[in-house]
Amino acid sequence: MKAIHHSPIQAQGHHSLIQFSLEKIQFLDHEGNWICERPSFASDQWLVHAYKHMVLNRVFDNKAIALQRTGQMGTYPSSLGQEAFGVAIGMALHKDDVFVPYYRDHGAHLLRGHKMSDLLLYWGGDERGSAHGPKQDFPICVPIATQITHAAGAAAALKMRGQDQLALVTIGDGGTSKGDFFESLNVAGAWQLPLVVLVNNNQYAISVPREIQCGAPTLAQKAIGAGIHGVQVDGNDVVAVYQSILEARERVKINKGATLIEAITYRLGDHTTADDASRYRSNDEVKIAWLNEPIKRLQTALHTLNLWDSEQEQAWQSHCSNQVDQAVHEYLHVKQESPESMFDYLYQDWPDVMNEQLDLLADKLARNDPK
């Protein structure tokens, strides 16, 4: 390589080989000031749309936690403070893209057209919560990092068919420690897959902080070893997250393959409703994190642009509450699936050789649940 001959010798026998650099994308600072020119996609209408969805996401989130606390829903992972991440994804995805979520993407799901009551149904312990939505999108994925290999497979299918959509997958910071993460980035580089990997680095994997999770200064640099593009983005800046996905899509279009985006956020809530974050982080730390949360900063930016006032805020809040209350009403009135439904989707066609299983359940029902 030419560069080797011209590079300074660092130690005897050592020569510079390749140098890597990493960029960070940010448009709005935490006080809502534009720190660089507003990108062309971020029209007045776009900004208001993003803001409204972030607020809706938060109202939904608060209600979901309340449902769990009052015994009306199961364990729920809050997306409090990470609304910019989910909403930017939901807005940036095209209808025919393949979305491969993890389990904290409520904002994105709502924008993908999932019914709010279906999300509640899923967390309320009913499989039908994943029955609807875009037919190509994956259901919520609980086993950490497994979804990224599926996204790579979906991306390979898109590429094989010459389709120009992309597969977008989300993962937490803890997930980037797993083999599936590395294996998937690796194949995305080797096969130049139309894949976008978005890491929601919310600083904690349940209780384990980011700095114990990985010794590298950024998670975005894990892209380098896989030969794909990596970038870090302020995950509380909805404009920046959206921009990073736009750029990733451009890269897919010109056949430059996959992108790893590390979005820096902060998980303001507990890991799930079964967790107590006060066991492992201080109130002071959380207080400081609240100063950086995504909704307030966008609201300030909208105020400065004269796009939003307190009257609109009040009206929208009340609209969101009504919408969520309506969804809760629907969720609470869904008729429970029959016990026999556990057999309905095991295989496409029920194997006759398994009929004994049906008899066993029938006996159990007759014994325990006589009509």
Binding site: G133, P139, T149, A154, A157, V187, Y345, L346
Partner: protein, 341 residues
């Protein structure tokens, strides 16, 4: 290839082919890839090399890298990619090079492939096949000889299919690829290059979820699968010389089990010996024996016998023949049935 050559080739493949088990696998893959564009092959060394056992030989030349993909060396990835592809309408037939290396793929099999239909209430499905050679007897290195089919059979939502002859390899693999649900297709490598059989390469699949009765008999039912079928048939010959008429059943689909065929045979013979290479405890044989005792205990003339591997690690190859069941072991177990009757 010109049209004339193409026609000749078509004619050639629809003819009868005399082949061994591994060639039958290859034949079925060629047939199905030609007739179904959604079928894709992926795995380690499956492309240019045609697989370390040559199961995928010639496929890359015929169908290109787009459909015959050498993957990076990562088994979890191979299974995960298959889940992703299957969910988007492809029919991936993935190869795990040896069953001893299938374990990283388990999470994707158990947590995703097996459940995709159920957890989306039918919105998505996972019509994938994971092929893997399994079992001992070829003097392979450590980790290349185990039989861990029970680990997979325990999981709801997956089919486990094991052929024991070239014809059943051809017909069952076609059925597995056409099945709308995930199938783990385990190939007994000890008999990969065993007895040749004539196959009509017409794309006709064999039924899944069904045992195959390979030999009719009246005195004892011998139940087995995979490479042990060869030893079991040999034992049946030996028993016949002693005037004992043995029925031989190839289970073929390990999950879900076709107990009806097995029960009806045991009801008529009153004796049963189950033969498998896998370790003895918690194995598929234990499940079959349990169901026989549940369903036809009073028809039994003797306790059900098992001829199996030991609850030890598969020995390295110098000692593997002490671990593997053979026809003498099977005959001895049948003798026990008669002595205890």
């Amino acid at each position: 290839m010109s049209n004339i050559h193409q026609k000749k080739a078509n004619k050639a493949v629809s003819e009868q082919v005399e082949c061994v088990l591994i060639e039958a696998v290859n034949l079925a893959l060629h047939y199905e890839m030609k007739h179904d564009e959604s079928v894709v092959i992926l795995g380690e060394d499956v492309g240019t090399n045609g697989g370390v056992f040559r199961a995928t030989s010639g496929l890359k030349d015929a169908f290109g890298f787009k459909r015959v993909m050498d993957t990076p060396l990562a088994e979890a990835l191979i299974a995960g990619l298959s889940v992703g592809m299957a969910s988007q309408g492809l029919k991936p037939v993935a190869e795990i090079q040896f069953m001893g290396f299938i374990f990283p793929a388990f999470e994707h099999l158990f947590c995703h492939a097996a459940r995709m239909r159920n957890r989306t209430r039918g919105r998505m499905s996972c019509p994938m096949v994971l092929r893997a050679p399994f079992g001992g007897g070829i003097h392979a290195p450590e980790h290349h000889s185990e039989s861990t089919e029970a680990l997979i059979a325990h999981t709801p939502g997956i089919r486990v299919v094991i052929p024991s002859s070239p014809a059943r390899a051809y017909g069952l693999l076609l059925a597995a690829i056409r099945d709308p649900d995930p199938v783990v297709f385990l190939e007994p490598k000890r008999i990969y290059r065993g007895t040749k059989q004539t196959i009509i390469n017409n794309g006709e699949a064999l039924p899944l979820d069904t045992c195959f009765t390979l030999r009719q008999g009246t005195d004892v039912t011998l139940i087995s699968w995979g490479a042990c079928i060869v030893d079991t048939l040999e034992a049946a010959d030996m028993l016949a010389e002693n005037g004992i008429s043995a029925e031989v059943i190839d289970v073929a689909t390990i999950k879900p089990l076709d107990m009806r065929t097995m029960i009806s045979s045991v009801v008529s013979t009153g004796r049963c010996v189950i033969v498998h290479e896998a370790a003895r405890s918690f194995a598929v044989g234990a499940e079959i024996a349990a169901q026989i005792s549940e369903k036809c205990f009073l028809n039994l003339l003797a306790p059900v016998q098992r001829v199996t591997g030991f609850d030890t690690h598969m020995p390295y190859f110098k000692n593997e023949h002490y671990y593997l069941p053979n026809s003498n072991d099977i005959v001895a177990a049948v003798d026990k049935c008669f002595k205890e009757a």
